[in-house]
Amino acid sequence: MQDLFNIFIKAIFIENMIFAYFLGMCSYLAVSRTVKTSMGLGVAVVFVLGITVPVDYLINKYLLLPGALSWLSPSFADVDLSFLSFIIFIAVIASMVQLVEMVIEKVSPTLYTSLGIFLPLIAVNCAILGGSLFMQEREYATITEATVFGLGSGVGWLLAIVAIAAIREKIRYSNVPEPLRGLGITYIITGLMGIAFMSFMGIKL
């Protein structure tokens, strides 16, 4: 239990997808104009990460790793398919996004229309693929750990995009130097927020 909690907190604050790794920056910069849409996108990202990371974990463990196929027959023990992981992970993500899209359209058409173009964009959000690749690199021991890591990274991303959207809503009333408006100031604020988040690095978990 303690371990899972540590992984969760670490994924949100210390290894935050946006502030420590810059993953999912494109949609982060493009969609963060209002808090409402960022919240919608953030929740969708949490959801997709929470599904794809464990699915990719199983695929990685039982299909791709060196010797992973030995459950099929001992003669496959030296098969190493790990070079295929990019293509399989991205296929899983793309199909999951498609699935999520169909489910949301059926269950809640209002949410579906309010998210609009941002839903399919999740497929090319680097945070999602990054989650799976980090999961592979860090070799989590159980599927629960992988799921918690996926959810934690998603929540960290959600936190970051909602925070920047709130700041951008307020900054409209301040007098930013003209050439810095929009993109420039958003970069710099993100940098400053990253510095603030670095203070969490001191926490030993």
């Binding site: 090319v124 990054g130 003209e178 050439p179 810095l180």
Partner: protein, 217 residues
């Protein structure tokens, strides 16, 4: 392609423009806001920045050409999956080549080689250009945008390595006597947030020079 009616010179004015516009006014990172995800984390040093830039130029140019050749055969409903598969196969090639020849750099880039797949520049250019144009202009567009992206990467990598470690391409540039006089490497520049601030400053400089690009918050 059978529909070519008049022969256009390979480097006509229009084609040259495809190469040069992404360097300035249509720069992928500072103007189109594409491909930032993997761009910032690997610019701590110059060497990985250059390797990353070259990989992206390769993947972008080749995938643009492939999609442009296939563009009439791809059903619109599944085009995103098709594009992703083309990109992913090229990225696998790049990943394997990097692992074989420059293993150290490939270790430094870690997951970011794989993340070229979701690099929005590539998807963005395929959607915006490859799907609608002939192979040769698509190739030039890919090269142009790749270089525009790499250009920013190299500038950021240059400053971060020089200020942060006093080296360039792992070669000591700031001589010892300056350190003896009390100069210290600015360790802060190596940390992730500074990449954002450096890019922010580049955006600021570009927009000061080219006021057309100024946006209203």
């Amino acid at each position: 392609m059978s529909e070519i009616k008049e022969k256009e010179p390979l480097f006509s004015a229009k084609n040259r423009k495809l190469l040069t516009v992404p360097l300035g006014r249509e720069n992928p990172i500072t103007v189109q806001v594409l491909g930032i995800c993997s761009a910032l984390a690997i610019t701590v040093k110059l060497e990985p920045s250059v390797v990353m830039a070259l990989s992206v130029v390769f993947v972008l140019a080749v995938s643009n050409v492939v999609i442009s050749i296939l563009r009439k055969m791809i059903p619109p409903r599944i085009r995103i999956i098709t594009q992703l598969i083309v990109i992913a196969s090229l990225v696998i090639i790049v990943d394997q080549v990097l692992k074989a020849f420059v293993y150290d750099v490939s270790k430094q880039l870690s997951v970011f080689v794989g993340l070229i797949i979701t690099n929005c520049i590539i998807m963005g250019r395929l959607e915006a250009f490859g799907m609608a144009n002939k192979p040769w202009p698509s190739f030039l567009d890919g090269i142009g945008n790749g270089i525009g992206y790499g250009f920013i990467l190299v500038i950021v990598g240059f400053f971060r390595e020089l200020l942060g470690s006093g080296t360039l391409w792992n070669y000591q540039l700031i001589p010892q006597f300056i350190y003896d006089m009390g100069y210290k490497n600015n360790g802060f520049v190596i940390l992730p947030p500074m990449a954002l601030i450096v890019v922010g400053i580049l955006v600021w400089m570009q927009r000061t020079r080219d006021r057309v690009l100024i946006e209203d918050n």
